[in-house]
Symmetry: C2
Subunit: 699 residues, 2 copies
């Protein structure tokens, strides 16, 4: 394992607290921050205290004293839920003694109370939350404010999370490899076993807790026969120790399971969810798991998807499949995160009537209401698969009687693989902010996802992890921003990308200029840049098959994966209209459906996702499609070069390890962008025969 010692700046990510300058804190603030107290005793509160101590020591340059909570001196106190201190804090916020309001699941608070002495400047700051984990989250929120230079003012402040499930999914294999991993080997598994060196896991749990993540699934959703055995005593004792680490940080562990576990792990000859023997088997197996991990979050399941086993094998519905697991988990408070990524991956490319984009809605919408209450349908952000640009999945807007989570991909499978810079929060945020009718009222997709307006018992956000054992965790140092932003988005989908990115830059590189503004700007430009030199106008794919990095325009055009662009000498795009195409647009609410159906109103950036148009079609920008392709690819590659040039201006202002890490990756990005530019432009110039208006070099 790569140790922190060799690359502390990379390794610490956004928790590498830098000392605050003398101007950042007044003397009385420093005095206040020099004492900490805790009301309550528990493992999580202990963690909260340790984190507060560690953060304040680094930020202020002085290790705080631990004091009794009754002290009369100024201090910071972590107050357990239900304590008098907490009640008083909630009172200053106009909340009842428990802190929670109707429709809230977790809330954190920072409040200022008068000190117990009468002296001037006598005060105390109370850090609390509706749960012990919320207290920990509140500690990190407090430290974040300090690091950003906000001092101790502006209190009281409370913040309720928008999502009950804030989950990171690892696609880690028992052999230590990571499917779609671009940052080294697994931090959980090696050589077929759960790791016993838990130092790195502990540091990871800190990072996740610091942004409010409360759930982590540790193994790949593509469950091998070997990984299916994680449910057995062969692995459970070590898994329990892993769960213990996360538990101290308020995070519940989930396991990805194979739907045919009854067959793989025992003598049961079927995994038919309606077979009584199967139900019995799951109940017994789940009970055994909970003996080792009493607070296991539950299971993540990829079923009937990309050749994974599932209920369809037995003629059963997705709901029937999920519910047999839900029944086994219910007594223990566990839930099923059932992935909605179900489609035909043996499609005949010759068949234009089948549309992969329709599959998720067509499969799940008829089952709305059939899922048990402790099932969450995990629905990918778009209807295809984590492309740089997709419309939001229509199923996200439509489900009413099913708890759901929106699934995003933090790991950059299709967005540069942590070689190319691509800060993904803007994409996620844009989708979460889409208008949606929720429980009959105008709202946003974020509201629908949360499940609160529809009274669902669950709801939230899941993201596929981008972390490995690389010294930087994420391979590309700037890709740490995506992990940070994921947690912040899951907690609070409303805050704008600029604000989230600024938080991350401030904590990771500090607020000194020009580094702060330069990095911030690079992050915010990066997604549009990546989009501009890859597949145009929402059509997606065009990537090298299998590993998905770099261009191969026809790489998936004649394959079984349902991912086509239909480019011919005259035009390009997929007709998904009701009028003349696959009818996919009908899956949206009427307003959105009409928007996409009409070529005149369909947004440019999604034009080719919804329509097949001639290369000479004029976009709203006034450009033809072909000229847009040329322009965006020349511009995108030039912008990639500018990212590198910009970074190079920071030489000497960023520590050498991180500077070189980013420089090296930006250099790869420049090469990749040039390859995309030339391949895409050449492909379309050869096919369309239409020259670039500006006469630039196409091959």
């Amino acid at each position: 394992m790569t140790e922190r010692s060799s690359h502390p700046n990379m390794y610490d990510c956004w928790l590498g607290y830098r000392p605050l300058g003398p101007e950042a804190l007044a003397a009385d603030e420093r005095n206040l921050l020099s004492r900490i107290a805790v009301v309550g005793v528990s493992a999580v509160l202990h963690t909260a205290r340790e984190e507060l101590l560690r953060g304040l020591a680094a930020l202020t340059g002085n290790e705080p004293l631990s004091v009794p909570w009754q002290t009369e001196q100024p201090h910071v106190v972590i107050a357990a839920p239900g304590s008098a201190e907490a009640g008083a804090a909630w009172g200053t916020l106009g909340r009842g003694p428990a802190g929670l309001r109707p429709g809230e699941d977790e809330v954190i608070a920072l409040a200022e109370l008068p000190g117990r002495s009468e002296g001037p400047g006598s005060r105390r700051i109370v850090i609390t939350g509706s749960t012990e984990a919320a207290c920990l989250h509140a500690v990190f929120a407090f430290l974040r404010r300090l690091q950003a230079g906000q001092g101790t003012g502006g209190l009281p402040a409370a913040e309720a999370t928008a999502n009950r499930l804030r989950m990171v999914n690892h696609w880690d294999n028992l052999d230590g490899s990571i499917e779609r991993g671009y940052a080294g080997k697994s931090i959980f598994f090696a050589d077929g076993q759960v790791t016993q060196d838990l130092r790195r896991v502990t540091d990871y749990a800190r990072l996740l807790a610091s942004v409010g993540v409360n759930a982590v699934s540790v193994n790949n959703v593509n469950v091998t026969r070997a990984a299916a055995r994680l449910l057995t005593p062969a692995h459970l004792p070590r898994l329990a120790r892993l769960a213990e680490v996360f538990r101290r940080y308020g995070i519940r562990v989930f396991l990805s399971i194979s739907f045919d576990s009854p067959i793989v792990l025992s003598g049961v000859r079927t995994a038919d969810p309606l077979d009584p023997e199967v139900g019995t088997w799951w109940r017994r197996q789940v009970a055994e798991v909970y003996e080792h991990i009493p607070d296991l979050g539950g299971f993540v399941v990829k079923a009937d998807s990309e050749s994974r086993p599932g209920p369809a094998v037995y003629g059963r519905s997705q709901a029937e499949g999920a519910n047999v697991l839900a029944a086994a988990l219910r007594p223990f408070g566990g839930i099923v995160v059932w992935r909605a990524f179900v489609y035909n991956c043996f499609q005949d490319w010759r068949d234009r009537s089948t549309d992969r984009a329709r599959a998720c809605y067509d499969t799940f919408m008829p089952l709305d209401g059939d899922f048990a209450d402790n099932v969450i349908a995990a629905i990918k952000l778009g209807p295809m698969d984590f492309q740089v640009r997709e419309p939001a999945s229509p199923l996200l807007f439509a489900l009413r009687q099913t708890s759901q989570a929106i699934e995003v991909q933090i790991t950059q499978e299709y967005t540069g693989q942590q070689k190319d810079l691509c800060f993904l929060h803007p994409q996620w945020h844009e989708v979460m902010a889409l208008p949606a009718t929720v429980a009959g009222e105008a709202g946003t997709l974020a509201g629908a996802v949360s499940g609160y307006p529809t009274g669902r018992p669950h709801g939230g956000v899941t993201g596929v992890a981008n972390v490995g054992d690389d010294p930087s965790w994420t391979g590309h140092v700037l890709a740490q921003a995506n992990l940070y932003a994921f947690g912040r988005l899951a907690w609070d989908p409303v805050t704008e990308p600029r604000a989230v990115a600024a938080e991350w830059v401030a904590q990771t590189f500090g607020i000194a200029e020009p580094v702060f503004s330069t990095v911030l700007q690079m992050l915010l430009e990066s997604w549009p840049i990546y989009e501009s030199y890859t597949a145009p106008l929402g059509v997606g794919w065009m990537v090298t098959p299998h590993h998905h990095y770099g261009p191969d325009i026809d790489g998936y055009e004649y394959s079984r994966w349902g991912t086509y662009h239909f480019a011919d000498r005259d035009g390009i795009g997929v007709d998904r209209t009701k009028a003349t195409g696959t009818g996919y647009t009908v899956q949206y609410e009427a307003g959105q459906a009409a928007l996409y159906e009409d070529i005149a109103s369909c947004p440019d950036e999604l034009l080719l996702f919804f329509h097949h148009v001639p290369y000479t079609h004029r976009l709203k920008s006034g450009k033809t499609v072909i000229q847009h392709i040329y322009d965006s690819h020349f511009d995108g590659a030039a912008a990639a070069q500018r990212l590198l040039d910009t970074w190079l201006t920071l030489a000497g202002q960023v520590d050498p390890a991180r500077f070189e890490n980013v420089r090296g990756r930006l250099e790869l990005q420049v090469v990749n962008a040039a390859q995309w530019r030339d391949v895409v432009n050449t492909y379309f110039a050869r096919k369309s025969g239409i020259p670039d208006e500006k006469g630039r070099r196409i091959f």
Copy 2:
């Protein structure tokens, strides 16, 4: 290891001698064949006797008696070179007592001599050769005649081989995998070691010896660090046992070596061939190898090719690289087989001036005369890489002062991977029969390759093996024909494909109809069929990158491998002319150069290899290029279906194991051919916009 016992018919290949019917042999012939004698004692003669015994026992149904060679009764005698019996046999052929004539290296003979008694029908048949291995080859030739129903007539007969080196190259890795292997795991290596179970190796040596192969390289030319250690005592004892098996069959073992072995295996800091320390290292290491394997054939080397180390790393020529090895091997009679497959595999696809087809000639022709006498340049049949259709490599015609071997690929990397049927002898034979000026006289390429006319000390044919531990050896039972045909071609490049295929079918399935004629016809049609549904008119490639099975028209179009088709909306092909293209045509002799240079004379099947033409260009067939593409792909896929239909008519007439093996693979071929048809036709219809004249279905 899969044993013969489970699938004897597959396993025995063409050596599954079937009893001859009563009509096949007269009574006096059966009498003659019931006694065998041997003159001379050696391991190879012992093998020859064992093979004769085994073959005659199976063919006649009676185990022959071993008799002293002085017997007066009719018998068959294997006569060692130099024996009086051999001398007498040569005498009946008008040859001197040693058998060899000037310019011959190995000759085999079958002769009839009168018996030592005076009785009617008293005679003996002498089987001999110019070497002990030749005696063994003569035994197999004799058995072949019998199996084909030719009896014991038509003697005397002598046959000199055309090639001194007849070599099979294995791309087997120490872990048991086989690069470009389509028939299971290695029969030489497993788990990082040379195998100790030599039964299968023995059976393989029999197969090779039966068709005259006299050399085998056992490990992959892409030599890993682990495989570099084959040169050391870590592996030499086991390798010696492997070599002992082959030695008994007259076959010398070669090793593929890494050019940077001095670095990999020792403390030498360079592999610079002109560094004295390097020369010393090689001499010492080679001496150690020969202590274990005194008759090692030598080394096979892939250097400066596809990222393999080589002399170019040190600014040295290919000759300087080869010669340091040659000097080390010379004292032991070893040779260097130096692959001429050197090209830039990091080409920029944007650069149309670089032509991979030129690389081999451009690199090696200036070095003609610089190579040591015990170096053989192994030159691939075509200038690119084992495509279904290529012109012959111009270097093969041009070298005068360098020994050469033509390298073919028996394993069907680009020709169907032993799923699709593709009998390759017609391709090899066609190239060997090309007119060539050799030593100032009109001849054929086969003559140039042999090296005899130019007085070279070496010359021959090498082929990449298609064999693994599959029960059938080759995966596809009918792919056994390629291994057989390779050996026969190497021995005798003149015999026509029909005759070679007929030999194989007769020995493998028998001469009973309809099996004999049906299988024969399927073999002979198979190469044109495979060509017709894959890349058109000699342009090559269009395969799925890396694994090379199935179509991906642009799969290599924007890559670094130098393999492009340059299709745009107007036309397709690579301009390799002197007038307007890369100038590759100039590498040929004047007549051939003119043939290819002129679009009017360039053969249709190579048109797109040499010229970029519009889709509307008319071929000599009268069809346009685009219509030829459509027609050949519709026809080719239909022909693949016919192959399957034809095979199905043999149900019940071929043993079930072989019948099902071939049926299963032909079913895969039908699917593959349909995919090629539809992808190629759709690609070009979309690109050209020109409809099929016959209005067939294109997607």
